[in-house]
Point group: C2
Chain length 634, copies 2
């Protein structure tokens, strides 16, 4: 299926997205953030946009009346892009920014100048003269107001080699791109171009995830995002999660291979974005990269072995800038490349960058909980004064692996499940419509919640063959491994039953227990209850279509009023973009990284207690989930 | 012939040299400078050393009595190495340093610590711990006392990749090599080695000449020169002088070729020095390079075209340090490489580095003239307050080219000539003894002086067929092109007559006129006479065996009392070595370069007048050379 294009008015920005992408994500990717205080679960109605051409798949119409629906209004959070579409974004919506987040321009007129890693200046250099013996470089430095004899550090050999030609071909009218103070990678002078090219300034913000990689091509002159690209990390078939990648990376040649695979992924996206936007890769003069600690190690070819071994030590939490040109990104070789600072082996720069999108980046007394649930689950709790972070080995159960009919949130994936309590039969929503091929993360959460609400499983997750109207049956060679038929073979795209068995359920329970246990452990360690939490930020692609109520029902998320949840989308990518365009964000992210106290769960028996207690539905201590208990038929 | 070895006591240093090398040069190369106020012409007797094993070719015995000669005493300046030899250098001689020059250690005990471009520290790094989440890099920075979050610039990817292994294999006891403040090339942390390697510290000082390249391998821990290597610049067959190289370099692929040839030359020397001294090329952590502006352009792959064209503009007088690792020298890839700052297209870093060996580097009222006579001739005049410099296109006549039987100062070259006034017949000294193959620079100066003194040529250089006892004969197809037979075919190594003809003489006159004219022009431009000159420094290999009196006789050098002449040898190489080992020298050389006023001779008619007037023997104005006039038979 060809990738559909979303055109956004005002601004007339176009962005090509994968079919099935949430309309809200497409708008955010193209133009910046939009607040949805419901966390994208469709309750708040704040993300209303009007579709004027094409159609979207609209999942939740409850906030809109018939007239609005007729006019084309939809909730961006609950709509999926399935074909080319044009949407009008109301001004008041565009203006609603989450506090602490960076403002991004919503139309083509520059509002706030970017404070990037580099700065372009158009200058006129004095032509050479018999009156002095200055070289081309010396005259350039004079024109730039830089002292020529003070610093031994100024430019790379490539720049110097091109200098006489560039100066003479342009009549000594050139544009110099200089690295901002403190952000020099290979050289202070990044490049020199003939004529005035100040208006053409591009950078990339990059999120390197274990499963997917995403890139914003940023137009730094307009302070806007020109385009966004997302691709699966090409390392995927070398291990689904971090630990299996680390195990794979034991030999140097395999580290070289994994490094190459990340670079191919990122450069593939960058080349595509450049081609589609008429930008040359060497026009990209700066980059900010955020990723978890292991991904950063693999991107740099660093041995990740000691991340896995007690006492869980990274080679570097804050990789220096020096080796931008050695990294191999398809951008200008002298471009500064800033990597978001990590905190420890399992809380990386993706988390610190993501925190830039929360009130935790500003001085606040309010206590926030930040959750990034991906292949690994990271949690941060704190306020403007203190911050704790930890990581839970969530595993890939919600990323499409670890359960037998699991798949990623692509077309064909079951994303919503409702089980009729009496018949035990499931009704499913499939991404993109059509027949189901598997079940994605949000579908799995729904399924688990519905199985429990319908009484088909007990608190320990055990299927009850006596209920479920024959849909619960033993499979395989042992009668102990019961499974529940979610979709009958006759209705599935594969021609086989879509099943969930005891092993799948145990995997899901372990994942949800890891997430909840980590949050609970951190709060206990500072003597707080969940009721003290003012905001819960949910980051990561998995969170987009997650039904917060169902996630609470299975005891993965704590029982906090739904309106306190804020869905952030790819906060790591957005944070990398903030770092690319704002010196304040760059200072903040360093401050955040240094403020965070990292808790190592692997070695703390108190965490194991929390984890074990959370292996039940919703929890060993039902008092923690009073409203959930009420859902269950007695 | 195998290269003979000179062993020097005290210190027991050995150095392998080319047969025919002056013993003084060998001692200087191995252990540092020795003053010879006579300028190496054998008059001052200050460079007396005792040969205790082997023998040297001793050219001038006038300063020594029979007993001294029997004891093995020789003048190092007037002795050539022809076989393996052991020499004792008296302590008082070793101590006699030219003022303003850097002291170099003369025995194996460190005297003054080197202040190099890098510094090694042995440190113990805290092992990783569950008590904190620091990475290897962060703990290393803490051990080094460097703030981990302040600078984005610290080390290259190679260093970071090796860090976990180096730390763990060494029990976290490592040696860090850090670039000195302001001398970072690729990265602040140059390298990290297991264990304590502080005692092993090497650097290279490099002189890139148009004709020859020379390298000191410096032992920075002992502040001594471990070995010296000299080779012809492999660019030689791409043009003998600077202008022909620039012409050759017009196409980018030829610039790449010339760059490769310089690197092959230098790396050939470095590899040889390393092999012979048990040093790995990656043990070399710093380098200082001095060379003329064109050679620096060709070494860096910069287009030298605009050096040749009015207004004679280099790409850079002061190339930055940033591209050390891109340069391609066979040393550690992260080593800082400092290039001596140039002044203009024809006065380069070889001159500023060379000036470090003179009183011009210190505050002095005395006026000095510095001459570097090589393929190009550069002259500097001034004192502690003002400095003027210019370059004369001397041409390669004194470097073995430009005259038909010219050759470099290799074995077989005529280096001394005495012509019997009555017979007109020449007596010659040949380097290494044996039959003559050609005539070198110092021989050509001698020959020209003797031809004039004997009355065989007139003031315009015209040979007189009526004199010379039949040795002056027409050659070739025209009776106008007379030539003088220096060595008869029966006595020559080639089996043919060694001749000098009118064209040769005119080339020599042009060269000497260029040198004298440049000096005279500079002095006139500041209203001084040569009598105001307190010191004349002669640098460059050509000067070593130059007879100062004969050079004055032909009017190449001004008539200044001989005792004011100081021969410096390869001042460019010695200056590069000073920069490698002394922060004061590095500051001085920058100050010297910025203080020098560069005069462009090509465009000044007053220079042409001086040049034309100097085309006569000794000069159009004989009053400038009163003592010379007295030598000529009336």
């Amino acid at each position: 299926m060809p990738a559909p294009t979303v055109t956004i008015i005002p601004g007339d920005t176009s962005i090509e997205v994968k079919a099935g992408t949430a309309l809200l994500d497409a708008i955010v990717a193209a133009q910046g953030d939009i607040e949805a205080s419901c966390g994208g679960s469709g309750g708040c109605g704040q993300c209303r946009v009007r579709v004027t051409a094409g159609a979207v798949e609209h999942l939740d119409r409850s906030c809109l009346d018939a007239e609005e629906l007729a006019e084309g209004w939809v909730l961006a959070c609950s709509s999926r892009v399935i074909e080319n579409v044009t949407v009008h974004v109301p001004a008041e919506m565009a203006a609603a920014q989450p506090s602490g987040a960076e403002a991004v321009n919503h139309d083509a007129t520059p509002t706030r100048p970017v404070e990037g890693l580099v700065h372009k200046s158009f200058i006129e250099v004095d032509p050479p003269s018999l009156d002095n013996s200055f070289g081309d470089l010396e005259r350039l430095r004079i024109a730039l107001g830089e002292e020529s004899d003070s610093a031994h550090s100024f430019c790379g050999l490539d720049t110097l080699q091109s200098l006489p030609r560039v100066l003479r071909e342009s009549g000594h009218r050139v544009t110099a791109t200089l690295a901002a103070e403190g952000y020099r990678s290979r050289a202070h002078l990044v490049k020199i171009e003939p004529g005035d090219t100040v208006a053409s300034a591009f950078g990339v913000a990059i999120d390197v995830g274990t499963t997917t990689c995403a890139v914003h091509l940023a137009n730094l002159n307009q302070n806007s995002i020109a385009a966004t690209g997302i691709e699966y990390n090409r390392q995927l078939n070398r291990g689904l999660d971090i630990i299996s990648r680390i195990n794979y990376a034991r030999q140097p040649e395999r580290r070289a291979e994994l490094r190459q695979l990340i670079l191919e992924t990122l450069n593939g996206i960058i080349h595509k974005l450049c081609d589609e936007n008429g930008v040359s890769t060497t026009d990209i003069d700066s980059a900010c990269v955020a990723g978890n600690t292991t991904m950063m190690h693999l991107m740099l070819g660093l041995d990740p072995e000691y991340i896995r071994l007690d006492p869980y030590t990274p080679v570097a939490n804050v990789p220096p800038l020096d080796f931008g040109h050695e990294l191999g990104l398809a951008i200008h070789p002298n471009a500064p490349i800033l990597i978001a600072p990590g905190v420890g082996s399992y809380v990386g720069g993706d988390i610190t960058a993501g925190l830039l999108r929360t009130v935790l980046a500003s001085a606040t007394d309010e206590v926030s909980l930040f959750l990034d649930i991906g292949t690994n689950g990271e949690a941060v709790v704190g306020n403007g004064e203190w911050l704790l972070a930890c990581a839970a080995s969530a595993g890939p159960a919600f990323e499409g692996s670890g359960i037998r009919c699991g798949m990623r949130a692509d077309p064909g994936a079951v994303e919503r499940v409702r089980i009729d309590t009496r018949s035990g039969r499931a009704e499913v929503s499939v991404i993109g419509g059509g027949k189901a091929r598997g079940i994605c993360g949000s579908g799995a959460v729904d399924l688990l919640a519905e199985l429990w609400t319908a009484g088909l499983i007990d608190a320990s997750g055990k299927l009850d063959a006596a209920r479920g109207g024959g849909l619960v049956q033993p499979r395989g060679d042992t009668s102990r491994n019961l499974s529940y038929t979610l979709v009958d073979a006759s209705d599935s795209a594969t021609g086989e039953d879509l099943l969930i068995d005891q092993h799948d359920i145990q995997n899901l329970l372990r994942t949800k227990a890891a997430v909840y246990g980590a949050c609970s452990f951190m709060l206990r360690s500072v003597g707080l209850e969940f009721s003290a939490i003012d905001r819960v930020y949910v980051a990561g692609g998995f969170g987009r279509f997650l039904d917060i109520g169902q996630a609470i029902a299975i005891g993965m998320l704590p029982e906090v009023p739904v309106e306190r949840f804020i869905y952030l989308g790819n906060a790591s990518l957005a944070g990398a973009h903030a770092m690319l365009t704002s010196s304040e964000a760059r200072e903040k992210v360093v401050e955040l990284a240094s403020r965070i106290t990292y808790l190592e769960l692997n070695v703390d028996p108190a965490y194991m207690d929390e984890y074990t207690a959370a292996l039940f539905l919703p929890h060993t201590d039902p008092a923690r989930f009073p409203s959930v208990q009420a859902r269950r038929p007695s």
